[in-house]
Structures are given as C-alpha cells and as structure tokens.
C-alpha cells in the first residue's frame, strides 16, 4: 500500500514539475490574457497658441456618463436612519438637475431592458462629473474623453481648422497640418482584474507611457486677428461681397500676424458649419489680383531703368493693342502724367505704355521673385500656388492685360507678400505662420528661419514706396485708406473675378494692400473683397478695412507721425509733354520703338 501511494505521489510530483515548472509558460500566458485588461489612456492633444502664448485651441477633459441599468436598481438612499432601496426613479430625480436633463427621460434610460450599458450624456465637465460621482449611485460610470475648445471661435476658424468631436481626428487647417505633433501617442496600461471587474491590487503596470501632444505656436497675434476679422466681416456685409480676406504680415520678418476670412465658421459648433466656409481663402484661393499687380510691373520698370518717378507719360483714352482697344476705368481726355501718376491713378493704358517695354521673360522672372506661382513656406493644407503663365504664352491681349494684374492668379497671401517686399526695402521675407513647436520640456523649438531674398534694389524699393504713397494722395484712387498724420503707401486693385462655378468672369475683386507709416512700416495689410454687390473699386470698398486695421496697429504700436517726405513726386507732368520727346512715353514713341 505504501509503495503504491509513493508511486502515485511520484507521478504527482512529476506532473507538478511539468505543470509548474517546465510547461508553465504557455499556461501563464493563457491565464494572463484571461485576467489582464488593457486600458488606453488617450493622449491630451497639444495646444495651438498665438505668438504671445495665448490659447487658440486646447483640449479639455470631458466625461461621457454611462449607466448600468441593472446596478442602478440597487440605488439606496438613507431615509431617517435606514437605507431604503429606491432604485432608478430616485436616481433619475437626483441626477436630473446635475446633468441638466429631464428626470423622466433619465429614468427611461436607467430602466432600459436587456442591457448593462447606456450612454447618458456626453461632454460632461469634470466639475459636474465630480458632483455626479459624489452621489454614489451604483452603476453610474464615466469614460474620460477630450473636447477641443477654440477660444477665438469664428475669428480664426479656417486657419486653425477643426477636429471631429467624436474621435478628435483632425480635418483641416493647422490641426490637420500639425496633427502629428499635436496629437501625441496614446498610452496603454495593463492591469489584472478579478472575475467581477475589481482591479487586483498591485497588478497595474504601464505598458506604453502616454505621450501628450506638443503645443504649436503660431505667428498669429490674436488681438490683431480679432480686430481684423471684425473689420473684414463688417465690411463684407456692408458691401454685400460674397467673400473676403485680410492678411497682415510683419514687414521685417514675413511673419503672418493675422489671416481673416469671411464668411467663416465656428470650430466650437460644427453643427452650423458650411463646408465652403472652412476654407482658408486667403491662402487657398488664387484669383486675378488686378491693379495691385501693377506694383510688380513698376518695380521691374524702375529696376531696369525704363522709367523714373518723374518720367512723363501721355495717356490717351484708348490704346489699340492686339486687335483690341484698351481703356481705363473711366473715360478721360488724353492726360499728361508722370510714371508716379500712372500708378497713383491706376491707369491701365499708362501701365501698358511702361510695361510693354519689358519682355515677358523679364516680367515673369520678377513675378516669381516676388513669390508668385509657388507655394509659400507655410505649405498650408490646400494652399494654392497661384498661376504665373510661361513667357511663351504671353501673346495677344494677355501680353498686355498681365501688365495690370489680369490673366494670371495669385493668393491674398502672395499679393500681400509682394507689398511686404517693397515695404522691407526690396528684401522679400517668405511668409511664415509657425513660430515653432514646444518640445517635451516645454521649450519652444523655433521653426526653421526663412532667409530674406532681395528682389529689387533698396533704391528701387524706396522710390516705388514713395510713388505709391500718391495712391492715397489728393489725386490717388484710395482716399478712404488715408490715415491722418501718417504717410500711407498702398495700391488699390479692381479685377474681374473669375467665378470657378460659372466658368466665367462674374463680378469683381476689390482690394487694397498697403502699409503705414510709409517711411518706417511695421506691418503690411492686404484686404480683398470678392464679388461685392455695392461698388467695385478697391479704394472705396477695401480701403476702409485697411484704414481701420492699420490705424489700430499704429495706435497700438504708438508709431510716430510721419515727417514730410524728402522725395517730391507728382501725379501730373509739371510741364507740357511732347510726343516727340525721347524721354516721354507715348503711343507715338511706342510706334517709333516698334512695340
């Protein structure tokens, strides 16, 4: 008997060696997978900040309150000295005021049959959840979620973009472009649970630590943004424009300080969103700039020595070119102007007489140096490069219309950047929107710096800048852009608007781009109104927005009033111009030169 027992024990011993020793690993894995529970800690999405560190977008902790109808039935409340089981009706009446819900609606959810999981309310703030939790209703639980909040709301919607509320997936704008840095990586924790769900003490461990998203700091100045958006929105409504944009670029750095679009959308309330309004039109829509493009023609002409500010130009009412008769905005008798006058009064004919003396290749070269036809380093999602046609295509009427801003396209950002180049003494600073991203220790890692590119000489830039001060002068096209006590340089633009939906020209683009004080500008402001229903001229329509934003900037910066310019330029020729004068530009001279 003893022998048999010892033999059985020997067999048991070997079985134990196998089960506990040699073959244990596989069983351990099975046991672990049975008990272990993986929880995902969502990464907190990084903030988007403005240049001063003010929050433009941030994620806040929210809770989805859920209920287990089976457990709620056990809700007990102390009545007097005894605990009474009052269940779902009492739970509903206790929770209704906290959650701001109807008690009968709550009770219906609490008593939903055949389920142990009912979603009660989403996006509950931590404060409310703490109060709900304090009631101690059994079966009430919460899942931690995040909600994205955009303090500037509509003012910056198209630039910031949005994330979908349900899963925090980025859909557009900066949210989309910097999603990788912003989103971070969710962490996983593993714990072992008891059969009924308790966490077994000491079994928790971190599998992958959560990496929260990094903050992204933009060059946007939220005060200025707010102001620009309001000024633009008001004007778009006043003039009945379909849409409008305003761009403010810092002259010395090329940093974009404000990008306003209207109509816009509120990323806090996507239910009222119109998909068309989520587009950052200032970056993504290319349009024919119109007269604001004359600046590049003049820059090239000055740089190539074709004209000086005082060069006389005889401007007829009509100019036959390429089988067409070109005209100015208004009929006028033959006028005797200076080159300054041509740009100040925005004469198309005068511009043709000057610009036709430059080859298309030269002009295309300047357009590209000014940043047209290529995306900015911002590389915003959906950003347009615009379209600068090849010199070979500069034939027929387009050979001439391109001199005054038609038949090619550029974005509001690109056009404002052109004026930044002139304001910055001929050095173009490629526009940027990102100051940098924060690293793990919270220090800003600056975005790669953009190097300035000299487009025209400082002399040309200074001269041209002084010439376009006349635009806001007594004879210029933009009296509405004037700011008392300051010299304002700028240019109006009125262009035929090519409607992509109608596949044809329909309405106008009225614009004004400029800067002040002209002798020491800190900011360039570009205002663009597309398809206004009241009026068409850039000076009258866009000028007031420019005026308000520029005035705000001047007042904020406390810029000193401008001294009188040392450069004495005139709009009208000081003496009678002769078609035979070899220095005077005229139709006769053009014929002589075989143009």
């Amino acid at each position: 008997m003893l022998l048999v027992i010892l033999m059985v024990f020997a067999v048991f011993g070997f079985q134990l060696l196998r089960v506990q020793g040699f073959d244990a690993a596989a069983t351990q894995r099975a046991a672990m997978s049975k008990r272990s529970v993986k929880t995902i800690t969502p990464a907190m999405r990084g903030q988007i900040l403005d240049t001063n560190g003010r929050v433009l977008a941030e994620s806040v902790e929210r809770f989805t309150v859920v209920a287990d109808p089976v457990a709620i039935a056990e809700y007990k409340v102390k009545v007097g000295d005894i605990w009474e089981k009052l269940g779902a009706p009492r739970a509903a009446s206790d929770l209704a005021p906290l959650l701001g819900m109807d008690a009968s609606d709550l009770e219906a959810r609490f008593t939903k049959p055949n389920t142990r999981y009912v979603i009660i309310k989403k996006d509950v703030t931590p404060t409310i959840w703490r109060e709900v939790k304090a009631l101690g209703v059994p079966g009430i639980a919460a899942e931690r979620t995040a909600s994205r909040v955009y303090p500037l709301g509509m003012a910056l919607g198209p630039v910031i973009g949005f994330v979908s509320p349900s899963d925090q997936v980025a859909w557009s704008g900066i949210e989309y472009q910097f999603n990788q840095a912003l989103s971070g990586k969710p962490g996983t924790n593993i714990y072992e649970r008891a059969r009924d769900g308790y966490i077994i003490p000491g079994s928790e461990r971190v599998d992958t630590p959560v990496t929260n998203g990094r903050n992204v700091r933009l060059t946007i100045d939220s005060d200025l943004q707010w102001y620009a958006e309001n000024a633009l929105a008001k004007r778009v409504q006043e003039v009945g424009a379909k849409e409008g944009s305003a761009v403010v670029i810092e002259v010395a750095t090329g940093k974009v300080r404000a990008v306003a679009n209207y109509p816009t959308f509120d990323p806090n309330d996507l239910s009222r969103m119109d998909v068309d309004h989520t587009v950052n039109g200032a970056f993504n829509d290319a349009f024919e700039p119109g007269s604001t493009g004359k600046l590049m023609t003049f820059a090239a002409a000055l740089e190539k020595g074709v004209v000086t500010p005082d060069t006389g130009v005889i401007v007829p009412n009509r100019l036959p070119r390429a089988g067409m008769k070109f005209k100015d905005n208004e009929n006028h008798p033959t006028e005797q102007m200076t080159a300054t006058g041509v740009i100040a009064k925005s004469s198309n004919i005068g511009t043709i007489l000057i610009g036709e003396r430059l080859g298309p290749a030269v002009l295309v070269d300047y357009f590209r140096k000014f940043g047209l036809g290529a995306k900015s380093p911002i590389n915003f999602p959906g950003e347009s490069a615009g379209n600068v046609p090849d010199p070979k295509t500069w034939v027929g009427a387009s050979r001439y219309t391109r001199l005054f801003g038609q038949a090619y396209s550029a974005t509001a950002l690109q056009m404002t950047s052109v004026y930044q180049t002139i304001a910055n003494k001929g050095v173009r600073m490629p526009p940027t929107l990102i100051e940098g991203t924060m690293n793990d220790s919270g220090t800003l890692v600056p975005a790669p710096a953009q190097e300035g590119v000299r487009v025209v000489s400082e002399k040309t830039a200074t001269t041209l800048s002084r010439m376009i001060e006349e635009v806001t002068g007594p004879d210029g096209t933009a009296s509405a852009a004037r700011i008392k006590g300051y010299r304002v340089a700028g240019k109006t633009g009125t262009a035929d608007f090519f409607d992509q939906k109608k596949k044809g020209y329909n309405g106008f683009t009225a614009s004004f781009i400029g800067y002040a004080p002209a002798e020491a500008p800190k900011y360039v402001v570009g205002v663009f109104l597309h398809q206004p229903s009241a009026g068409m001229f850039g000076g009258a329509l866009a000028g007031p927005v420019f005026n308000q934003v520029m005035t705000y900037l001047i007042q904020r910066d406390g810029a000193a009033p401008s001294p009188k310019s040392t450069l004495d330029y005139h709009v009208w020729a000081k003496h009678e111009l002769s078609t035979s004068d070899p220095n005077v530009l005229s139709e006769a001279r053009a014929k002589r030169d075989g143009l």
């Binding site: 008997m1 003893l2 059985v8 089960v19 244990a24 351990q28 099975a30």
Partner: protein, 437 residues
C-alpha cells in the same frame, strides 16, 4: 487499493510477511539504523512524532492557506476577510482537543466505541434525508443542520467504516479466508448501509473514499486475492454503473477527457482550467504568500477543494511538494504502525485510516493537477471545512493513540519531563534526558 498492497500476513502473525515490502523494510531499518544520524532518529517514539509532526504541520499550513485563499472572496462578499479563517481556526482548536483526547484514550476503548460510532453515523446519515434537517449543497445532499452548526455525517461514516471493519476482522481471525465471513457482517450490511446512504445524497467523492477504506480494511484483514479480484470487479462495475446512470457524472468524465474543455477558462472545466492557471502562475517558486491572482473569484472553491492550486500559486513547487511530502510522511507513519504492531485491530484500523487520508488526498490533488476528473473532495487537514477537519484530526488522534501503544513508546513518553518543564527547556536545568544517556 489493489491486492498487491497486501503487506501484512494473512494468518494473523505478528511478524509481517508481505510480498516484497516487509523483509526489505526490516533490512532497511537495520541498515539505516547503522547510520549515525538516522540511527538517532529511530526510536519507539518515531512513529508518534512522524504522525504528530505531519498532522500539526498540515493543519497549520492549511490554516495559513485557508486564510490567504478565502480572504478575498470573503471581502468581496462583504464579510470580514478573516471570517472563514476564524471559523477554520476554531475548528482546528476543537480538532486539536479531540485529537489530544483520542490519543490518550486507552486502546481497548476504540474497540468498544466502534459499534456506537457506527450506529451514530447511520442515524446522522439517515437524518440528512429528513427534509427539515438535510441541506443540499451543489447537488450533493450531504449536510445536516443541527441548531447553529452544519455537519457532514459522511465524515463520521468514514470513521465508522474503519473502526467497525477493524473490530470485525480482528475478531474473525483466520475465518476471513472464507468468503462468507469476508462479506458478513462487514461488507453487508455495515459498509453497504453507509455507502448506500452516502450515495443516496449523490456524494460520489465520499463514496469513492469509502470504497478505498473498505478495500484497505479487507486487504489488510487477509481476505483472499480471489475474492478481492471479485469484489474489486463488482466495485468497479458499481462505480461505472453509477457514473453511467448520471448525466452529470458522464459529462464530467467526457469533459475531463476533452482537450477543448480543458482549455476554456469560462466553460464547464473552468474550475479545473483556473486551477491549472494558478499552478502555472506559481511556477517554480510561487508568487508569494497572499499574492495569488486566481483567488480573486477566478478559481471556484479556492479555499476548499482547490486549495492545492492556491498553494501552488503562492508558494510554487516547494509548496506543493511539501504537501505531497507531508502526506507521504503520514503514509510512512501508518506503515510503521502497521508493521510494528502486534494487534490486528490496530493494523486494520491503521490501514483504513491510511486509505481514507491518502485516497482523499490523491483524489483531491489528482483533480487539481489535471490527472483525475474533478469529483469534489476536500484535501484532508488543509481545505476549509469543520466536519472534515475535526473528524480527520480525530482519526489522526486514533493513530497517535495506536502509536503511543507501540512497544516501548509508552515508557519513553512517561519518562519525558512534564509539559511545563519541556516548555521551559531552554532555561538551565538538569535535563533528565542527559541523565538517561
């Protein structure tokens, strides 16, 4: 228990002449005694201390493990985490008192007590079927509610089988060679009544242990091999019939043999699978006392039928092997008693008790480690459960009583200094033992 285990002589001789076990044993003993260390251990007191030591260790071990294994489930049931442990400790104290009393009872008393124990157990087993007194737990109607306490009369039934068998066959002497005497009156009616009552409550596990007791009693009494073969076959057929006729039992066997079931922690074999999980989690060295994860409601009956798995999980291979070792020690102690005694009653009763404890331990451990189907018997001395603990300790108390009556033992025990003096032995004193040397 098979016929090969018949080690004691069938003709009632005092000198054991088994088939291969006894003679080498004597040689072994003398050879071992020649070794200086082992020789010192060999004394008339050895058996006494082997059984006493193994029992005490198992009970204390069991208390600790019951505490560890039950603490979580008690807590999850809104009870104090030591509630099961406290009950078990109380029963351990009662059991210790019972064992101490039993060990000091004169040997003749046990012969006299066998009949009353038998009658008492039959009455109690019968009372289980009285609707107001019997309690059904997990399909087994084997509990009796007596006022504030519940007892399992089947435990007493095991003791009755041992004592009555020993008394009957000790008195029959050589008559057991006759089949008529082998059957009457022990097999029929004594064993038959008790086992029938137990099976009436659907408690197959206890019945199996009782079969083992009966088998051991018959084998040691010197029943002929032929009859044994016959009885064994009848018994096996009986068990097979019982299994066959119960869907529940058939399913248990089928699932035990099904690898798919043995891999599904949520299915029919969940308890067995989680037992294996616990053992594997423990691995070589265990997760540490108290650190079991399977006791968190995963493993059913963690403090009871499956406490061996929790021992394996918390204390690893050393823990499980120590349990095996301690039961082996009890088996060895019983074996020593059987070969050294001159009293047939003592030999037969010892064999019965040995079969009882060891069969129960083997059925329990075998089920936990996946070698046997889960039948549901507690691990003697270790599992939680008052009736089982107290009666098992009573049985061991009887063994201690037998051991005290070994030749020379009583004299040596009497020569020991008193309990108080032994307790103060660390204090400087003139030791009587030193004088004896």
């Amino acid at each position: 228990m098979t016929s090969t285990t018949t080690s004691a002589g069938s003709r009632g001789t005092t000198k054991p002449r088994g088939r291969g076990a006894a003679t080498p044993d004597e040689r072994d003993t003398s050879r071992l005694a020649a070794l200086p260390v082992i020789g010192k251990l060999e004394s008339p007191l050895t058996t006494y201390y082997l059984i006493l030591g193994a029992m005490t260790t198992l009970v204390v071990f069991g208390l600790i493990m019951v505490f560890s294994a039950s603490s979580v489930s008690s807590l999850l049931n809104d009870q104090a985490s030591y509630s099961v442990f406290a009950r078990q400790a109380l029963f351990a104290v009662i059991g210790a008192a019972v064992a101490a009393g039993a060990s000091r009872l004169p040997l003749a008393w046990w012969k006299r007590l066998s009949l009353p124990v038998f009658l008492g157990s039959v009455v109690l087993l019968g009372l289980v079927f009285v609707p107001s007194l019997g309690v059904e737990v997990g399909g087994n109607r084997n509990w009796l509610r007596l006022g504030p306490i519940q007892i399992q009369p089947a435990e007493l039934g095991k003791l009755a089988l041992v004592l009555v068998g020993a008394m009957v066959f000790a008195n029959k002497g050589r008559l057991v060679g006759l089949i008529r005497h082998a059957i009457l009156p022990y097999l029929i009616p004594v064993a038959a009544i008790i086992i029938a009552l137990v099976l009436g409550g659907h408690d197959l596990g206890t019945a199996l242990v009782m079969f083992a007791i009966v088998g051991a009693v018959l084998a040691v009494s010197g029943v002929r091999g032929r009859f044994f073969l016959l009885a064994g076959t009848v018994g096996a057929l009986g068990v097979a019939y019982l299994v066959q006729t119960s869907d529940n039992r058939m399913a248990r066997i089928a699932n035990f043999l099904s690898p798919a079931c043995q891999a599904d922690p949520d299915g029919w074999c969940g308890q067995s699978v989680h037992g294996m999980y616990a053992l594997a989690d423990g691995g070589w060295w265990g997760v540490g006392l108290g650190a079991s994860k399977e006791k968190w409601d995963w493993l059913a009956e963690a403090h009871n039928d499956f406490i061996f798995a929790i021992i394996g999980e918390e204390l690893g291979l050393p823990g499980t092997l120590v349990i095996l070792f301690l039961f082996a020690v009890i088996a060895w102690g019983c074996y020593r008693l059987m070969v050294r005694t001159r009293d047939r009653f003592v030999r037969i009763a010892t064999a019965g008790i040995m079969a009882w404890l060891l069969a129960q331990a083997i059925i329990n451990i075998g089920a936990v480690i996946g070698l046997l189907p889960v039948i549901g018997v507690p691990l003697p001395l270790v599992s939680a459960g008052g009736s089982s603990l107290v009666t098992t300790m009573l049985a061991l108390g009887i063994l201690l009583c037998f051991a005290r009556n070994e030749p020379g033992c009583r004299a040596l025990l009497a020569a020991r200094p008193g309990m108080l003096k032994r307790s103060l032995a660390v204090l400087p004193s003139r030791s009587p033992r030193r004088r004896n040397r």
